[in-house]
Structures are given as C-alpha cells and as structure tokens.
C-alpha cells in the first residue's frame, strides 16, 4: 500500500462547508439510519465531501463531517485514513488510478506505468499544471480489458503506450475523449477472431439436456433397483424449459460477435470500431466538477445474499491436517484439527492407502 500522509498545513483550505445540495444529500443519508446512529452515514458523506473539495479530503472537511454526524474528529479520521479511496492530499483535475494488479500487469501495465512516470513523475504528485496526478491501486475489476486506468469516475481500458499517450494528450489539451476500451472494441467482447462458442448447436437449443442423454447412455447397465427407478423418472423427451424466453444469445436480432462470426463477418462491428476512433462522435470527458448534481445511486437492497454455508457438501477429510513428521497421514496419533470430536467421522487407521 502506498504511503499516505495528511496534506501539509500550507495547502489546507481555511474552511469547508457543504453546499446546500450536498447538505441535503448528507441529511438524506443520515435519515436512512435510526436516530443516534448518524455515524453509519459516514462513508457516503465523506465521499460527497471529497467530491466537493476537489477529489480530496481537507482537514476542515473531516471536521465538518464530524460535526454533521455528531462524531469525534478522530473517529472520522480513522475512517478517512482506513479507506485508500479517500485522498488526503490534493489530486489533479484528472486523477488517474492505475491498476497494477496481476491481470493488468500480465497485459502490459508496466508500460502504462512507465508512461505515467515519464509524464508525471512519482505517484501521488500533482503535475505542475495541476491537471494530473496518478496513483497505483489494486484491481479495479476490469481485468478483461486489461490494462486499464480509472480517470476520475470513468474507466479507460485496453490501453497501449500509444493510445494512452494520446488519451493523456487529449485530456491535457482539453479535447474530448471516450471512456471505455481505447482499442476500438466494444466493451469486453472478444478482442480478436472468435475462437470459442462457435458451434451453432450451442445456440439452437439442442444442447439443452444433452448431458442427461449422455448420462442415460452411460447408466444403461444399471437396470434394477434404485438407479433404474431414478432413470425411469427422467423425462424421455428433453425440451428447452422456456424456448421462447428470448435469450439474447439465441436471438438473431442481437448483434453478437458469435453471430457475426457465424455469418462470416469480422467479429467487431466496423461501425463501432470507426466510431471509437472518430473523435467527432466521441463524448468529452467530464472534468471533475465541484458540487456535482448527480443523484445518489440508490438500491433497494443494501446487501447481496451470500451462500450461508460455503463449505456445504464438501467431503470430510479423512486424514488429519497436522500429522507428525514421518507418519503416514492416516496413522498420525495427534489429531489437532478438532475433527476427532465430530461424531460422524470414522477414522480407520488400518486402511492405509496402498
């Protein structure tokens, strides 16, 4: 993790106050929680304060948030310093978060980093014109378009030294740029010729239930008993459960790379490719705005359900996990993993694997 520190006193602004819109946003966040639990809104409110202050959290902003949420300043400080997404020093107008995690690294993030270093010097330093600063961060979750950077709120993917230099030139010159893949491909569709998912039978519904047929054939010898009964219950005719459900991949209307490959076209739509490289149709990157008026992303769900027992159905290990040196696992005397107390685990020490 990069060494972080608080901004020096000289560049700390003298005061900070929420704009009316952000004040309203903070109140709305606080209202989500019961009275006395204002502190729960801290991350949302700190994030808003960071947006308003130009991408970083000055001391006064931390104190303002503390007062707003009825917290001690040190408690807000703890949160602001814990999360690396809160910047404690000023950042450039274009704050580049460069991903250096493994997939990006394998796809050439090192070259991108060299570009950043040669143009702006060390990370965490704002360039002389105040336009840029960069920071190496951990995986941003766009590995399929590696290497990539995040500039302010947008991802710029499929970078090469050339297109990244051009991107930075455009930003510096205030020319419009297009977020997303810079290579011309659309989102994360296959980069080159399609080499997988080409079998037409994948898309005509005939694969549905195929495994079951295969299973039936293999299981033919077992005609009696439980297995046979089970076999009998398997429907003989296999149908797609919802043939008209309209999966995008089966629909000819969808302009997928697979379909294009099937039809013998180039996998990437030339129109898209042209569009991506045509600056006249591109959107201009929005520089960081003070007091953004974007509505807060709201979700009715505050959590995502996770499986309650991740290890359910796993086979129980039959050998101790910490055997004594030199003892065959199943004969180890000292079993310290606690499994000896599990009533349903029977250890047969004579049953040495041959």
């Amino acid at each position: 993790m990069a060494v972080r520190k608080l901004a020096p006193k000289e560049i700390q602004p003298k005061s900070f106050a929420f704009t009316p819109e952000n004040e309203a946003f903070a109140d709305q966040q606080i209202a989500k929680y019961p009275p006395g639990r204002e502190a729960s809104a801290i991350i949302a409110v700190l994030g808003k304060a960071q947006d308003q202050a130009g991408g970083w959290l000055p001391r006064k902003a931390i104190e303002t948030v503390a007062a707003k949420l009825n917290m001690a300043p040190i408690r807000v400080m703890e949160v602001a310093t814990f999360y690396t997404m809160f910047n404690l020093e000023p950042v450039g107008k274009y704050f580049i978060q460069f991903c250096g995690t493994t997939p990006c690294m394998l796809r050439g993030a090192g070259d991108i980093k060299k570009v950043l270093e040669s143009r702006f010097g060390e990370q965490n330093h704002v360039s002389a014109d105040g336009l840029f600063s960069w920071l190496e961060v951990e995986c941003l979750g766009a590995c399929c378009n590696a290497p990539m950077v995040q500039i302010n709120d947008d991802y710029y993917e499929d970078l090469t030294t050339e297109n990244f230099e051009k991107l930075l030139d455009d930003l510096a010159a205030d020319r419009p740029v297009k977020p997303g893949p810079q290579s011309g491909r659309r989102s994360s569709e296959p980069f080159e010729a399609v080499s997988t998912l080409q079998d037409p039978s994948l898309f005509d519904g005939s694969m549905i239930g195929a495994w079951r047929k295969r299973f039936e054939e293999q299981a033919k010898p077992a005609e009696t008993g439980e297995v046979a009964a089970e076999m009998a219950s398997i429907p003989k005719e296999v149908k797609a459960s919802k043939p008209t459900a309209g999966r995008a991949i089966e629909s000819d209307a969808a302009d997928t790379p697979a379909k294009r490959a099937k039809e013998g076209e180039t996998p990437i739509n030339p129109v898209d490719r042209k569009e991506a490289s045509d600056p006249s149709t591109a959107t201009k990157i929005e520089p960081r705005q003070e007091a953004t008026d974007k509505p807060a992303p709201q979700s009715s769900k505050s959590y995502v359900a996770t499986p309650s027992k991740p290890g359910e159905g796993k086979p129980v290990p039959t050998s101790p996990t910490t055997p004594e040196a030199g003892t065959p696992p199943a004969q180890a005397e000292t079993r310290r993993d606690g499994s000896e107390s599990k009533p349903d685990v029977v250890i047969d020490k004579d049953n040495t694997p041959s």
Binding site: P73, I74, R75, T81, F82, T334, R336, D337, G338, S341
Partner: protein, 692 residues
C-alpha cells in the same frame, strides 16, 4: 449456570462468561494483551487462543462465550484445552508475530520489568525469531504532558483507545491508517483532554505509552511499595505509593471495587513532584515582618508567649482539607483543653454539620451504589472535576442503560448526557414544589439518587438548600429500606473525618469565615490553605508546603504529607481508610499528631498520649467507627434527612458554582507540582479553544 470442562476440570460458570473467564475460574492462566476486564472486548491480539474441542482452529478465548460452545456428541459439557500442544504452538506463533515489529529495546524502555509483553514472551514465546526483514518504524506522538509515547513498541491492542472512549468518556484517541501502517494517535496529536488520561499508560501492556513525568527515573524493582489512600479528593482512591529511599517516585492505583475500581485521577498520580517541592522542612518564626528559620523550641516558645493571657474566646482553630483524623483529633483535644470553642474544619464554609446526624453529610448511596441508581439528580456539583471517579461510576451506570440524569448547577461536560434543569436554588425550589417535569421521573424511580455538591452547600444559605434537597429526597422516597439515595459529594479528603470528630464551632464558637475575618486574636491553622485570613490575628500554620497558609503565618510548624505518615482518612462515603508511610518528611518536619502533642506540653496542657497507638486507642474508644477500616459504618440517614428537611429557610438566588475552579490546583501539594501546573495551563488552553 453452564458446565464446561477446562483441561479436564469441570467447572460451573455463568453462561455469559467468556472462555477466558471460565478458564480462570478453573484455575488456568490465559495470557492476554488486548483483553481487560473493565473494557469492551476487542479480540485483536490473539494471545488468548485456546483449543475448543470440535472447533477446527484455536479460538480467542476472550471473545468466545461459554454459551456459544456446542456440547459433545452425547451431550457432554464442552471441553476446552489451555495446555495442549496446539495451544502452545498457537501462542508461540502469535508471540512471534507480535515480536516481529516490536523493537528489542527493553534495556532503554521504561516498561522493562513491568511489561506484559516481556513477561509473556518469557513464559509463552520462543527464544528466536525467524524474521529477517526490517521492522516497521512509527513516528512518536504527542499526547500531552502525562503520557510519553514510543510508538514503535505499540502492538495495537487498542486498550488505550477503548479506555478513553469508554471509561474516560472523551473520544480523543483513535487508530488511524490500517494494517501494518496502523497508528494510535489523537486527532492531529492534540493533548488528551481527560482528567484520567494517565491510566492509559498503566493499561498499555507494552512500553508504547509510559508516564512522561517519571520517564527514566527508576526501575520498578528498585521501589518499595506501600499501600495507601489518595487525599487529592474526597473519593479516597486506593493507591500504592512506590518510593526509593526517602523519595516517593510514583503513585499507582490499587484495585478497590468499592471506590476507584482500578483507576485514579491524574492529580492523584502525578502530584509526586509536588511532594518534594516547596516543602516546609523547618519551623519558621516571623520577625519584623519576615519569616526566619527557627528551632522547634523557639517556635513553641513564641506560640506559648502569644497564647499566654489570650482569653480562650479570642483563640481559634481552622483545619484544612488534607489532615488525617489523628491530628484533627489531637487538635480538637488541645483546643478543648484550652477551653476554646472556636474550631472549624469547614474552611469553605460548607453547610454541613454533625448536629443533624452522620447521615446528613455522607455520600449515603456509596460510590458503588451509584450503579444501582435508576434516576440521578446532581445539585450544585461538577463531579467530573470534584470527584472524577464518582463521575466515572455515573458514566458507567449511564453506559449500561441511560437512566434519567439531571443537573442543577453548572452546565458542564460530564462525559454523559443529562437534562439541564437550571442554574440555581430557584430551580431546586421549583422541583421540590412539583413545578418541574423531572420530578415525575424521580418519583417513578425505584432507587433515585440525589447528589448534593459543595457548589450548592457553599452558597450563601447552604443549610436552606440542604434542607430543600432533603425535602426533595423525602418526597420522592429516596431514603427507604435498602436504599439511601441522599448523598453529599465532598471535595476535601479530611472533611468527613473532621465532621465525624465534631470539628465544628462549639457553643458560641465562631465559624472558619468569622475567625479568618478577624474574630480571633490567635488562629491555629492546621493546613487550611484555601481560606484568606485577614490581617490582624496571630496565625500559627501547621502544614507541609510554602503555600497560601504559610505566607500568612506568623509561626510555621512543618508537618508531614499523607505519604509520610500513617493516618486515617474517611472518604465521602464514610469509609474509614488508612494511609501508610512510604517515606519520611523532609528536614525537621514531623508527623502532625506529634507536633500537636509536643506543643501541648509546652502550653501546659499535655495531651494524654505518647504514641500514635495510644492516640488511636483513645480515638477508637471515643469514636469506635474509626476502628472499622475499609468499611462504611451505616448511618441513620432517614432521621438525618428528616432533621435536615426540618431546617427550612429561604435559599438565596445565586446560581451554584463548583468550588473547584481548577481541577489540577486544588491543594498545596498540587500547587507545588510542576506537572500539575503544566496540566492546568494546558487545560486552560483547551477550555479557551472549546469556548471559541
């Protein structure tokens, strides 16, 4: 109760116990760093790992409840093991990790010899480290004049953070950054703003936080340890005085569940330098307006000359806040033998008198009893600075489940929330007359507690206020069988003992104020430094420090402080406690009872005892409750409250103001201390900042 088998020993413990507590109940020792009985559970040091049968991994016993353990397959009680090879290996592993970033600077560390990490590394660690890389380095922090930091040594147990947040009630300390970069600090390295801050250095299991004033002054094994009691406030905290040779080196808290749990205030702890500065080490006699050193004989002769021919009603005695019961008793006997009725131990003019019974001036609910109260009314007191550990108890009660708490007096930050009712007597009168909604809450409470502070009692007509408070206590049923919620909060350690002895003006006697304003010709001042004595009377000052009293004195008799004599003190609850001698008084200073005994001889009224034991024998015969050490002799509060309620009278209109203006400078010892002066200056700064 839940059964659990610890190392083959079956114990029956309450189900809410943690495994650590259960193991201790079974006699097993569990090492720990972050766990502390009086703080919330953090579970982050991992030193207390034990093996629970059936659990795949060792578990942190401090954070695992007995009721969370599953029984065995056939319903056997859960089994834990604290001595198995797994546990030993786990402890060694944890210790190795803890020592990765801990510097090996024990020889220059103040914690050396009293360090949990040192001890536990010896007991549970291995003798080598496999860590070859660089250790992390952390900048030291400024946390104020009392706590010295060496943050390289910090093992992130967060005891200090939890103490300041939970017990002291100031959210000053926190852990910023994260992971390996985590650092304990205050916001922007401001000094801590608590009157209990030095306790964090006691809590620190390593040498990261140590006591700044005594840094590098001693090694703990050089000190001789004396159990004693604190006299800086009327709480009477249990302390241990550590001395080397003639010098007191430090003061530490002792565990006393009834009084101070295991905390003491910064004032109780850090006045150590005040014990050796500004000391009166020989008698002085004023000649031609200047004090000159004298011998004991000279000083006594001057007193005898001055007293000769002075009529007893022109002689008076005032006792201060720090004398022990023994010298107060000697003073009382001496004045009796001289026929003097002008005697008073209430230099602040507080409206308390033994005439209404012992229950009328004690903290009847007891300090531990605060935890049982279900409604609290504080009248004219700021417990946070007058008796910090009482405040800690109220806060502890408040944290369990906030009872209704209300305050009449100064609207101060008490570290818990309360209803502010008003500033003065009118609000109290309204409450008594039922014109205030808080009365319903008090009436609805099973065990209401009324705390009457010196801020109210030192007002113009304190007795009328005391009477009002007693009427209120009666009307809400605060005094009944099994609960006595009428409590007087004192600020002076000697006050209750003096009132028990009856050191109040006899028939026709003058009060302390009247004497100080020139009502007498010869005034014997036993350590009363908080009262201004008008020019005129001949003042004999017996005390320890060259403070206000000594400046006004005509003859100075140097006495011993509470660490230099064996003395009985009675705290505000009426708990009789004994302070013991840890060092000797400097120079020619003597124990106070002996000075009075010698003086009585010169005056021709020899006191009837030649030794401290003889004095105590006589004292115990006259006042048997002084013999019951460490106990609170029950007082008949019902009749006392009845008597107080009958006083009546019209209280004045002045709003209540706490008599403690500066927490750090309440007595001559504290005023002599450089550390206290620094704390006081800093607190003033913080107050100014807060006022902005």
């Amino acid at each position: 109760m839940a059964k659990i088998i610890v190392d083959g020993v079956e114990v029956d413990v309450p189900p809410e116990y943690t495994l650590l507590q259960a193991a201790e109940a079974a006699g097993a020792e569990i090492p720990r760093f972050c766990f502390h009985e009086r703080l919330s559970i953090a579970g982050n040091c991992r030193m207390c790992l034990v093996e629970v049968k059936g659990a795949p991994k060792p578990v942190a016993s401090c954070a695992w409840g007995v009721r969370d353990c599953r029984p065995g397959p056939n319903g056997e009680p859960p089994q834990i093991s604290t001595k198995s090879p797994t546990v030993k290996k786990a402890r060694e592993g944890v210790m190795e990790f803890l020592l990765i970033n801990h510097p090996l600077d024990c020889p220059i560390c103040d914690q050396g010899g009293q360090c949990d990490l040192q001890d536990q590394a010896m007991a549970y660690g291995v003798d080598t480290s496999r860590f070859q890389e660089n250790k992390r380095a952390v900048p030291d922090k400024y946390l104020g004049p009392l706590v010295r930091t060496s943050m390289n040594r910090c093992i992130h147990c967060t005891r200090c953070v939890r103490f300041t947040t939970e017990v002291a009630g100031v959210e000053d300390l926190g852990a910023i950054w994260r992971g390996e970069d985590m650092e304990i600090t205050s916001y922007l390295e401001k000094a801590l703003g608590s009157e209990l801050q030095a306790n964090v250095a006691d809590l620190c299991p390593v040498g990261a936080l140590t006591h700044k004033p005594e840094a590098f002054h001693y090694r703990p094994w050089e000190l001789s340890k004396t159990d004693s009691v604190d006299v800086m406030d009327a709480v009477g905290s249990s302390i241990r005085v550590d001395s080397r040779g003639r010098e007191v080196m430090r003061i530490l808290p002792r565990v006393n569940e009834d009084v101070n749990e295991e905390w003491i205030t910064d004032k109780a702890r850090q006045i150590v330098d005040g014990l050796r500065l500004q000391r009166l080490d020989r008698p002085f006699v004023r000649e031609n307006g200047r004090l000159r050193p004298a011998t004991w004989q000279e000083a006594f002769a001057v007193i005898a000359n001055r007293l000769k021919g002075t009529s007893p009603d022109r002689i008076g005695a005032i006792a201060g806040d720090l004398p022990a019961v023994e010298e107060l008793y000697a003073l009382k006997l001496l004045m009796q033998s001289l026929g003097v009725a002008n005697i008073d131990a209430r230099q602040d003019g507080t409206a308390l008198s033994p005439a209404y019974g012992r229950g009328s001036y004690l903290f009847n609910s007891t300090i531990a009893g605060i935890e049982d109260a279900d409604a609290i009314l504080i009248i004219g007191s700021n417990p946070r600075i007058e008796a910090s550990l009482v405040n800690v108890r109220i806060r502890k009660r408040w944290r369990v489940a906030p009872p209704p708490i209300a305050m009449i007096g100064e609207n101060a930050d008490l570290t818990y929330s309360y209803d502010y009712l008003g500033a003065g007597p009118e609000t109290l009168a309204d409450l008594v007359a039922g014109r205030h909604s808080f009365l319903e809450k008090l009436q609805g409470a099973q065990r209401p507690l009324i705390i009457v502070g010196q801020g109210a009692l030192t007002c113009q007509d304190g007795f009328a206020l005391l009477s009002l408070a007693a009427q209120l206590a009666q009307s809400i049923g605060a005094v009944k069988d099994g609960w006595n919620g009428f409590s007087v909060l004192h600020t002076a350690a000697a006050r209750v003992g003096a009132l028990d002895l009856g050191l109040v003006p006899g028939e026709g006697g003058l009060t302390a104020q009247a004497m100080a304003q020139g009502g007498v010709d010869v005034l014997f001042n036993l350590g009363a430094d908080e009262i201004d004595i008008a020019p005129g009377p001949f003042v004999i000052y017996q005390g320890t420090h060259g403070d206000r009293g000594a400046h006004r004195a005509d003859v100075i008799l140097p006495g011993a402080t509470y660490t230099e004599k064996s003395g009985t003190y009675v705290n505000m609850e009426g708990r009789v406690q004994m302070a013991n001698r840890a060092a000797f008084a400097p120079g020619e200073a003597r124990e106070d009872w002996a000075i009075l005994r010698a003086l009585s001889d010169v005056l021709g009224h020899r006191l009837p005892f030649d030794s401290l034991n003889a004095l105590r024998q006589k004292l115990y015969a006259e006042h048997p409750h002084f013999a019951a050490l460490d106990r609170v002799s029950p007082a008949d509060a019902a009749s006392a409250v009845q008597a107080l309620a009958g006083i009546g009278g019209n209280p004045g209109r002045d709003s209540f103001a706490s008599p403690v203006k500066d927490f750090y400078l309440t007595n001559p010892i504290a005023r002599a201390s450089g550390v206290m002066a620094e704390c006081s200056a800093l607190a003033r700064e913080l107050r100014l900042e807060a006022a902005e």
